[in-house]
Every structure is written in C-alpha cells, then in structure tokens.
C-alpha cells in the first residue's frame, strides 16, 4: 500500500509548526531562533570582525564562516558525540554556500562574519532549520544582504511527495519505492535555489514537482522570518 496518509497526520504540503524569533542572544551582534516541529536551531552572528590568522584573510572581500553543531542531548535518546565530525563539517560548508549568494561582504575586505549554529533538539531537517536561523541572525546583525534565505526539506516517501519530512518519515522502511530526502534553500527575490542535496532516489518528474512544492513552502517560511525580525524592532 502506498504512503497515502502521513504518519503525523499532516497534509502533503503542510510544514510542521514554525516559530521564529530574532535577537535571542544578547551578547552576539545578531541572533536568530528557528523551530520547526521538534527541530530547534539557534544561530549567533559575530562581526564583521578582524580575521586571523592572516593567511586566511581575503583582501578582495569579507568571508563568511559557518559552524553547525548538534548538541550532545539533541538526538533521539542516544547521545550525540560532541564536537566536529565529518557530517558537521559538510553541513557547515553547505550552509555557508547557501547563505553566501545573498550576502554582500565586499565592503569588509580581510574581515570575517562568524555564524554559529547550535541545535538543541533535532527531528530531521536540521540543516534547513540552521540556515533559516542563520538568515534571521545575519539580518539582525545588520550585515548587508540582498534577501533572506529560507530552507526546507522536500522528498518522496514511498512514491508520495511530501514537504518537511520528520525523522519517522525519513526512516520509513515499509514501502517498496523507498524514501528520497531533498533539503533545499531558496532565495525568493531571484527565485534561485542555493542548496540542493539528496538522499535516496527520485524520478526526474517527481523531483521537479517536489522542488516547486519546496519553493512554495519557502515563501511561507520567509514571511515567518520577516515577521520575527519586524517584531524585534517594532516595539
């Protein structure tokens, strides 16, 4: 039997509940909080600030440094080993590349903007939540940027296209067609995708359709992010 009804009763195109907030970390130059379902991400931005060692400086532009980290207690029961690992390094790198197209750091040669993303709770879609939080934090920090970035995972569970997979769906094993999990990041003003990864298999037609669903969901997320930022400043 195909996957007709989602495990948590959501509609196909329905995201989990989203909560966003700006300015949650007072010591940082900018910060953001993004919660989608049971996945919770905090992001703190420092800078633009001086960058050392000197050999990593870029005289033509400022650079962006992201750091993705899952907290030891953030998993589902078992302890996540703290610190850097191959997965965290890769996600840090793709986060950087997802955010960089909107940033304008030309005015800050030799400097760095540091983004620290911490996940206190994870239930799939953590890199997407991280990007959303980081985007809020960067805007809050007053970094020149052309647009906000929203991110969401789309995919197919046993042949059915869904938006915002949770862990249960990601690990769904009953079907014959398997699961495809596709995290995307989207820039609304240019309608471009700045992150596209995939686990599993999907047909070309379904991929195109899934991406369209993802874009729609991202537009929704952008409005939540904008609201969070405005709430902080419209006292």
């Amino acid at each position: 039997m195909a996957y007709t009804k989602r495990l948590d009763g959501r509609k196909q195109k329905e995201c989990r509940e989203i909560v966003a907030q700006a300015g949650v970390i007072k010591n940082a130059d900018g910060s953001g909080y993004f919660k989608i379902g049971n996945t919770v991400a905090y992001a703190a931005v420092y800078g633009p600030r001086a960058l050392f060692p000197k050999r990593v400086q870029d005289p033509s532009t400022g650079i962006l440094r992201c750091n993705y980290n899952m907290m030891p207690f953030s998993g589902m029961g078992s302890r996540v080993r703290p610190g850097q690992n191959r997965r965290a390094k890769e996600i840090s790198m793709v986060t950087e590349k997802a955010l960089l197209p909107v940033l304008d750091l030309k005015e800050y040669p030799n400097a760095v903007v540091d983004v620290f993303i911490e996940l206190t709770q994870t239930d799939a879609g953590s890199r997407c939540a991280g990007i959303c939080a980081a985007s809020i934090a960067l805007a809050d920090a007053g970094v020149p940027m052309k647009d906000l970035v929203a991110a969401i995972s789309v995919g197919s569970v046993d042949g059915t296209l869904v938006v915002d997979l949770d862990y249960q769906e990601e690990a769904y094993e009953e079907g014959e067609e398997g699961v495809a999990d596709i995290p995307i990041a989207y820039i609304p003003s240019t309608q471009k995708i700045s992150l596209l990864q995939m686990d599993g298999e999907i047909t070309k037609e379904k991929l195109i359709e899934a991406l369209e669903m993802g874009k729609e969901a991202c537009e929704e997320i952008i409005t939540v992010q904008k609201k969070a930022l405005k709430e902080k400043y419209n006292l």
């Binding site: 001086a50 960058l51 005289p59 909107v102 304008d104 800050y108 805007a139 920090a141 906000l148 400043y233």
Partner: protein, 259 residues
C-alpha cells in the same frame, strides 16, 4: 506611476519590496531589481524626495573619514601606535599626527601613549582596503585619563548625542559627569562614581528607547527623578575642563564599564 509599498520610518528587512516603478531611486542600502526597489539591509526606511534609503538599526561600526572615535592603544610601532577602533579594522596613529610637540627620533613612544591607553582621535583617512589613519591633533582630541569606558550600539550614537549635542549635554548637566561619545559606539565618562552610574543607566536607556519620539522630555524627567536624591555636583566640574592639561598624577587604569 511609482508606488511606495512601505510607510516611511517603518522597519524593512532584507529583500523586502519597498517601491514599484521607476519614479523612485535606490540610495543607501537599497537596490533596484527590475522595476522594484528592494531593501539591502535591515533598518528604517527614509524617503528623501525620490531617493529611498535605509537607516541601519544594527551592525558593527564602519570607519568613516572625519569621525571622532574613542580608541585603545593595542600596539606601539616604530613611528606610531596601533589603535583599536571597535570595528573589524585597527587604525594607525603616526607620530606626526599624534602631537604638535617635537618628538626626537629615538624617543620612547610609550611616554606619549602606552599600551591600553584610551584616546579621542579623529579619522583622517580610510582606504578602500580599510587601512585607517587617525590623528590626535585638534580641539578635543587627546589622551583620556581615568573615568570609565562603556560600549553602545554605534547606530544609536546620533540619538545619544542629540541635536547639536542636546541629549549628551542634558546628561552632563544633570550628573556633572564629563562625557565623550565616540562615533564608534565607545563612550568615556568621568565624574563621581554614583553620578557615573546614573549617567550610564541613562545612556543605556536612550540606547534601548532610541526609536521613541519625544525622548528628550522623557530623559529629562528620568534624570530629574534620578538626581533628586543626590543633587549633582554641578558647575565646578566644568571649569576644571581646562586644568586637565596639567599632567595628571598618573594615567589611572581604565576600567571597562559594567555590561
């Protein structure tokens, strides 16, 4: 016909559509995309005729020519000092810009400015690579002795100073503190300890409520209430301003203001 999509003085976020049509022009921190004008940074929208610009609300200090800043000496070089500016870049204070008095070639530069000293300096030059030259030659530019140093959001500095310095002189007069506000968001104050605390509290209040209109009245009332119990030791402090020229006993250690 162009249309403004956001009211003036409202908060805009990056990527937000501000206006439609070619009647409006993008200015600072806004950009044109097709027919629309979008925000390139978080801040308040300011409409100036046809030009749309954004007044930033957050962000670190960007050095600008002619800004008067408060810096800290972090290094002593062959022919000058390196000064921290509370931005991503440090500034250079060369001997020739430091003082009009004669400094011999092999003089010990720490006699003039030592590591950790705070000074009021003016930015004389900023290059495209953000190399900064500062000067301490000029009225009001000098080394700071004693007092305390606090940090504020540099985007709120104009509000703290007020029109023609109205806000800062209000605080000066009610607390009797000497206050110097640097454009880079570093503020130096010196007075009696309890008055210093009141001054800091007031500055923090202004920083927090910078968007409120009629702030001056509010702060006047606040200061009156605060200073009622302990009337400020007023004018004589002001006349002392000039006597500072005489070498102070010893450059007192600068305390970082409490956060």
């Amino acid at each position: 016909m162009g249309k403004l999509l956001v009211e003036e003085r409202k908060v805009v976020v990056p990527g937000e559509h501000i206006a439609e049509g070619m009647d409006y022009l993008p200015a600072q921190w806004t950009y044109r995309k097709g027919d629309n004008i979008l925000a390139g940074r978080l801040g308040l929208l300011a409409v100036n005729g046809r030009a749309l610009k954004i007044i930033p609300l957050s962000g670190t200090y960007t050095p600008k020519k002619d800004d008067v800043i408060i810096g800290k000496v972090i290094d002593v070089a062959m022919s000058g000092w390196r000064v921290e500016t509370n931005s991503a870049y440090s500034a250079m204070l060369s001997v020739r810009d430091a003082t009009s008095e004669f400094i011999s070639r092999n003089a010990d530069l720490t006699k003039f400015f030592d590591l950790g000293d705070y000074l009021v300096a003016k930015i004389v030059k900023v290059t495209s690579q953000k190399l900064i030259d500062v000067s301490t030659k000029g009225p009001g530019l000098r080394k700071l002795y004693g007092g305390r140093v606090i940090n504020v959001n540099c985007n709120k500095v104009p509000r703290i100073i007020g029109k023609q310095g109205s806000m800062v002189s209000l605080i000066k007069n009610s607390t009797g503190c000497k206050i110097i506000v640097g454009q880079n968001g570093i503020i130096w104050l010196s007075g009696s300890p309890d008055q210093e605390v009141i001054a800091i509290e007031t500055i923090k209040k202004i920083e927090k409520e910078a968007h409120v209109s009629g702030l001056t009245e509010k702060i006047t009332a606040y200061l009156e209430k605060k200073c009622k119990n302990k009337p400020a030791v007023m004018p004589e402090e002001d006349s002392e301003e000039n006597s500072e020229e005489k070498p102070a006993a010893k450059p007192a250690a600068n305390k970082k203001g409490e956060q």
